[in-house]
Symmetry: C2
Subunit: 241 residues, 2 copies
């Protein structure tokens, strides 16, 4: 229990006591698995549970009336799925597993109880939500003000940092199950252009992405090129002692 991706993540924010750890444990209810491609939260649906992702990758997205899709973010182990939907009692987005995934269900009621027992956990969850928001903000800046190549560079770096935090990657690279279509929908580009942009990054010797493997050929050059600052993801040590 002490080393699930979630605990690892929350632990970077508040130093968690044994009591708090066991409260977290009570949150994990039923363990469930979902197969790749079948939505587990549907836009417009209400009153479903939230989940904590234990293994696999998922993505949250919105479909516009005209059928266009915008991927909001990808979720990796340790991330909440559908927390916002539960709080707003209505899902403004859908969530789809990209690979087969394992999750544990979290009930809103249990969350409320947990907050009552330990307000520090409330802060930790609020922190996790803030961090998610910071990532969305970063994507907003990406799409609003960065060129296609910078956007892709920034995106690959952010994923790398997030994966590193849960031990699934490092500065030399990581496994990545995303297709170019998925990246296009996340970055507000066409799949065709994603392909061109990946080629450019490869030709300029910064990153390559082939056969589900991202390899940082020149990490520093890439960070510099993308204007990447990981402060919003990790801050090196608990903030609340």
């Amino acid at each position: 229990m002490k080393n699930t991706p979630l605990v690892r993540k929350l632990g970077t924010f508040v130093a968690l006591s044994d009591v708090e750890l066991s409260v977290i444990e009570t949150l994990h209810k039923r363990r469930r698995t979902f197969v790749a491609g079948r939505d587990l939260v549907h836009q417009g649906q209400s009153d479903q549970a939230a989940y904590i992702l234990a293994s696999g990758w998922a993505c949250s997205y919105k479909i516009l009336p005209d059928g266009e899709r915008q991927i909001i973010d990808f979720q990796i182990p340790g991330d909440f799925l559908g927390l916002r939907s539960v709080l707003l009692h209505m899902s403004d987005h859908s969530i789809e597993p990209i690979t087969d995934i394992e999750v544990s269900e979290v009930m809103v009621g249990d969350l409320l109880d947990a907050f009552g027992k330990t307000p520090r956990l409330a802060m930790a969850v609020l922190w996790a939500a803030s961090r998610d928001e910071a990532m969305v903000v970063e994507h907003l800046v990406d799409i609003g003000r960065r060129t296609a190549i910078e956007r892709m560079a920034h995106f690959l770096l952010e994923l790398g940092s997030r994966l590193a935090l849960v031990g699934m990657g490092n500065k030399s690279g990581y496994q990545c199950p995303l297709t170019q279509y998925l990246m296009a929908d996340a970055l507000g580009l066409s799949a065709v252009h994603v392909n061109r942009v990946l080629r450019q990054l490869r030709e300029e010797g910064m990153v390559s992405f082939r056969d589900g493997l991202v390899v940082f050929e020149n990490y520093n050059k890439l960070v510099d090129f993308a204007g990447f600052d990981e402060a919003y993801l990790d801050h090196g040590g608990p903030l609340l002692a």
Copy 2:
């Protein structure tokens, strides 16, 4: 006290008891005012306070290394300013008052205490944070997948709904102190293009924006055109009894 914009907003989520109302009151510390144009939170700065906006408009934005600016969102009365910065112990963005503003300061410690006293308030704040995130997500979709005109239409509608919630606007229009430059930076467009797009919307008889006044000429047509669904902003009544 019972009718500040903040209470009105949180009240749409949880039905607040008198005890909770008074706990909220203890959060409001020093009352302060800031003049238009001078940043009150600065990107990169750490450990400052959060604020609740009492009157006036502000905007949160990020400056990229290359000097480009992306406005993340505009804040209107009842909104938190810099809550995320306090939680992450580091501001990933700046906040600038657009008009002269009045705020009340909130201390993190007080927030933690308040959560201890009433977990329902923790839920309410978490809800407010989720709603902010939902708005950022909507902007992301805007910029990623909508054309410039749809984006503008959606933006003006969203602002209208938010203002209506705090009694500062309705379906026929509202006062709006934003310049075309500010809107450009928020929508990921150039100021020149903002101007053209506003002209088109005016010529097609949907909205006009002149002399600081937004007038919905044909609300339904505009909603339809923008694909606007306000579910993420307001859900008609408290969700937590």
